[in-house]
Amino acid sequence: MAEPIKLSIDGKPVTVPPGTLLIEAAKQVGIEVPSFCYYPGLSLQGACRMCLVAIEKMPKLQTACTTVVTNGMVVHTDTPEVANTRKSMLEFLLTNHPLDCPVCDKGGECELQDAVFRYGAAETRFLEGKLHEEEKKFSNLVYYDRPRCILCFRCIRVCDEGMDVNAYGIGFRAAHSEIIPNRGEQLECEECGMCIDICPVGALTSGTYRYKTRPWEVTYTGTICNHCGDGCRTTLSVRNNVVIRANNRDHSGLNGEFLCVKGRFGWDFVNSERRLKSPLLRKNGKQEEASWEEALTFTVERLKTILAEHGPGAVAVIGSNRTTNEEDYLLQRFARTVLGTNDIDHHRTADFSSLVRALTEAGATDRYATIEDISAAKSLLLIGNDPTHQHPLIAYQIRQAVRQHGARLYIVNSREIKLRRQSSQYLQVKPQGEAEAVRALAGQAPAAQDLCAGGTGALTALADALKKESDTVILFGDEIQGQTVNDLVTCGLTLPGKTRFVALGDYANSRGAADMGLLPDTLPGYQPLSNEKARERMESAWAAKIPAAPGRNIRSIFEGIRAGEIKALLVFGANPVKTFGLDNAALTGLQLLFVAELFRTETAELANVVVPAASFAEKSGTVTNTCGEVQALKRTMRQAGTRSDLEILLALARLFGQRWTYQSPEDVLREIIALVPGYDIPLPSLLVGRAVPTHPEGRPPALERPDLVFSSRDSLFTSGTLSRYSWALNSVDEAKKPYGHAF
């Protein structure tokens, strides 16, 4: 560790590590040096000149954002010259600024406004006509107002350096300079909206938020995005019970300022007019609106009849990738103890069970990587998956790792994914060749000569390179499952340092669904049903019997329905008809199809009973991201007529005569903390908005068949069924590009 640097700023002694920028050093002693173009993590610009400060022995004022501190430096930020400079820079910026603050989206949260208030002058001496440009529509989601733009270049840099998209450039020159899309008149990009969020003024505005409100007229609630499995923190702005914006307002949480197009714009399904508002009950072959009581009573009566006539083996349950841990936990409790069936499963998008088993058997359950581990990694191995589309935050963190501290990225993929631009070695294997590559890397089976373009030599080169790295983070998609996960973990753990692992699952709570035991053979916390001790532990906590025999997996459930063995199917927050490509006849044998959903999906259309469920914005609870970090959802608003899956389950249990005592999601969470191995997390950390890592430990049974784990391969603009109901996600031209298109 190099010697720290000692300097003085406004008479205050400051000690900082070498290489620190003066503007950051000042921050550490509570001295604000104003700036527009400086943005931590982006390249230095020195363009706005707001941060000019006086440094003794230097003839001119220096920009604090580009000056690296040196020992003995004596800095003054409070001299009349500095104050006058700040004032004059603001005067310059306002010369051609329209000062349309009363109608500007940014009014009230504008960095220029704040700076003028604090450092500027009330009047201008600029008597000339202002330059004007008409507003431009860059896309349905991004608008640009040149007169408001202060040309800080943050948008260009975040797009180049953060997103690796390079959608923006500068057009024209001098006072006529303006931000322009690099390819034609329109943006052609990932539509992440980072440029809007990072804009210090109202120059770049959001197509979904503009001219809707004043920022002080909305309620802000920090919650977790419900789309992919990365678990970005987001702040929902709600006005009159309508979500009008999402941005990670305080840049807190594991994603900082990052949000992708789904996180920033894809929440509008919550407000969709096609949301179900009332339960539907099939009467005379037609779904008709019914009361909650009617719908639930009908369901329970029908279930009771089926259970009485055919026994618990005639009832199956399909859970969700998006519902909360609490709901998933209760759902499997309901299935196992109330319905008495282990026929419960969900659409598994990554083989979390195999990862947990492999790490447990290797005694390495401290090797689950967090999102932070990814951005801090010095070496990354990505096998399969296309994080740019399927895991935008993880893709961002990988790029950060490469750009900010020169991490090496190694990729094994059958497709030319965009992240290969950041890779040190990119091994393109033949289609579905990822698993073979892993087995070859692990020395389990030799690779075929035609596995990858460079022959097996490329594979050897990759293996050699990895052996020289340390603390590698290994990320893998659904391409790696079952025994191959075990091979990968065994091989990974032989690499130098602390190798960590991430299984990449699709949705907001894909990981939680597995953790909470929405699986036919596994209790919460990856305890196998066959483990008598584990079973007894849950039985005593729930004061009920759990059937000992493993249930049917999701494919067997469909087969059971076809065979007429299963008479009732309960579906919570899933659309298996679409996901599994079921034909119309697949579910016709059912006597009861109960669906709890936000929308009338393909599955809901076939149901006898459909109940309107609450969306993520309308409920509290916790979700676990693909790295195993638990975060809290916070209820933001209400949607008349809907109930959360938790409330639905509690009502069903009550109608079954159960005396469950849960009053709130938190009560369920306390039980999870107490009972589920790996989930003994500190509740206060969770409640203050932290992402709390879990370390599950267990030996769940081996994967039964290869078609149980598969990713939906969502693109940046799709999110299972939900994206269909988002105007924003469907409004951009880029959504029509073929899957995997790299911008």
């Binding site: 230095l44 363009a47 004022l61 910026l93 010369t95 001496r125 008597l127 330059l131 500068i170 001098a174």
Partner: protein, 439 residues
């Protein structure tokens, strides 16, 4: 009547070093160049150690002819000797300073002199690749240079193992797209790399991190053209041509209201009054002198009372101006200084790259203010506002373009304040009214 197509009118007071071959027929051809001492300096340099070449240039007190006047040998010595990166020599031929047209003739009449200078510089810093960055408007010069480079390759003065020395050097030309800003060295490098011509944050300086992130020296065409003479005749000889600390001769471009506008090679420290009166034949039409811009439009102007000054970097700095790029612009007594300031500011407002706030907004402000002041009527506060705006630009911009705009403005506002007051009193331009009466 002077022949305006040939700017080399000649004067008995000239000391011809760089321009010595200009009068020869076919002076741009390699045959003429070689027949008149051409590439002899290169041979001599190969007999010296690279450090010795740098020391010779240091000894010559050759100062950058682009405008800043930084010691060229010193600049070269900042390039790290031990580095795994390639190094580059870039010749700045983006001659854009208003009033300046000397690099043009150096490239037009004696391109091999420049090429030889570049190869010697390359040898001195052990670089193997050079570029000549030519302003877009000089497109025709690129053809001349490309032909010269081709000749030099054919005769072994460029390429592999030059003159059997074992030293390799390649050279290529590149044009800009018409931006004054690209004359600033880091903006030039960006432009050369194919990026927009924006300046870079300094430090790091190009000598350490320049073209493609590698150590780079960037020198003006005239600076590099001097190098062969310094090597041939020695640094001491060269230093003695000028005044202390200001070695050699300089190509001065006399323009404006003068009898014999043209380019004259005069020793450093040549008196300005003599330059105007004896070399340039005095102010045109027998009029009186009002003002001189001594070194391109970015220099603070001198009044008629201030012209008893030797034309070297230090003497002009002493009286608050600059030698700049050698573009001496003469303004006669009938010139409206408000309009002159407006015209100058129109240039800078047009050429500001738009990167940093004070220059982008300030030059635009000054231009529009002066336009209104001159043409549509001024306000009493305008001169003070313009002065304050200029000071708010000065020293606060990322690159020197802001200073270049502010300095002439400040000097005109201070030295010719009375003309602003006259405009205010009359409500219109006193000079234009006179012009109307005469007509």
């Amino acid at each position: 009547m002077a022949d305006y197509r040939n700017p080399m009118l000649g004067s008995p007071l000239e000391v011809k070093v760089l321009t010595r071959r200009f009068d020869l027929a076919n002076s741009a051809s390699i045959a003429v160049y070689v027949a008149h001492e051409g590439y002899q300096a290169l041979k001599k340099a190969f007999g010296m150690k690279p450090d010795e070449v740098i020391n010779e240039v240091k000894k010559s007190n050759l100062r950058g002819r682009g405008g800043a006047g930084f010691n060229a040998g010193m600049k070269w010595s900042f390039v790290p000797g031990q580095t795994t990166k390639p190094k580059y020599v870039v010749s700045n031929a983006d001659e854009s300073e208003p009033g300046t047209c000397k690099d043009r003739v150096l490239m037009e009449y004696d391109p091999h002199q420049l090429i030889e200078g570049i190869v010697i510089a390359g040898y001195a810093i052990q670089s193997h690749q050079g570029y000549i960055y030519i302003r877009g408007e000089y497109r025709y010069l690129m053809d001349i240079l490309d032909r010269a480079i081709e000749e030099a390759y054919a005769q072994g003065y460029l390429g592999k193992n030059i003159l059997g020395s074992g030293f390799d050097f390649d050279l290529a030309t590149h044009t800009g797209a018409g931006a004054y800003e690209c004359g600033e060295e880091t903006a030039l490098l960006n432009s050369l790399e194919g990026l927009r011509g924006y300046p870079r944050v300094k430090p790091p300086f190009p000598a350490l991190i320049g073209l493609y992130g590698c150590p780079t020296i960037i020198n003006n065409v005239e600076t590099l053209s001097n190098v062969p003479h310094i090597i041939s005749h020695g640094g001491d000889w060269y230093a003695k041509l000028g005044t202390p600390n200001n070695g050699g001769t300089r190509l001065f471009c006399l323009s404006g209201h003068i009898e014999r506008p043209g380019i004259y090679e005069l020793p450093m420290g040549f008196p300005l009054r003599q330059m105007i009166e004896d070399v340039g034949g005095g102010v045109w039409h027998g009029k009186k002198l009002k003002c001189v811009i001594p070194g391109g439009s970015s220099c603070p102007v001198l009044t008629a009372d201030e012209i008893d000054v030797p034309m070297d970097f230090d003497s002009l700095a002493r009286i608050g101006s600059m030698l700049g790029s050698g573009g001496v612009v003469i303004l006669d007594e009938d010139t409206c200084m408000v309009k002159a300031a407006w015209r100058i500011m129109k240039f800078y407002a047009h050429e500001s790259c738009g990167w940093c706030v004070p220059c982008r907004e300030g030059t635009h402000w000054l231009k529009t203010l002066l336009e209104r002041f001159h043409s549509d009527g001024g306000m009493p506060d305008d001169p003070d506002t313009a002065l304050d705006v200029s000071y708010n630009i000065l020293g606060k911009t990322l690159c020197p373009l802001g200073d270049a705009a502010a300095m002439p403005m400040i000097s005109i506002l201070k030295k010719f304040r009375h003309e602003f007051e006259e405009h205010l009193k009359l409500g219109s331009c006193p000079y234009e009214k006179r012009a109307v009466n005469v007509a």
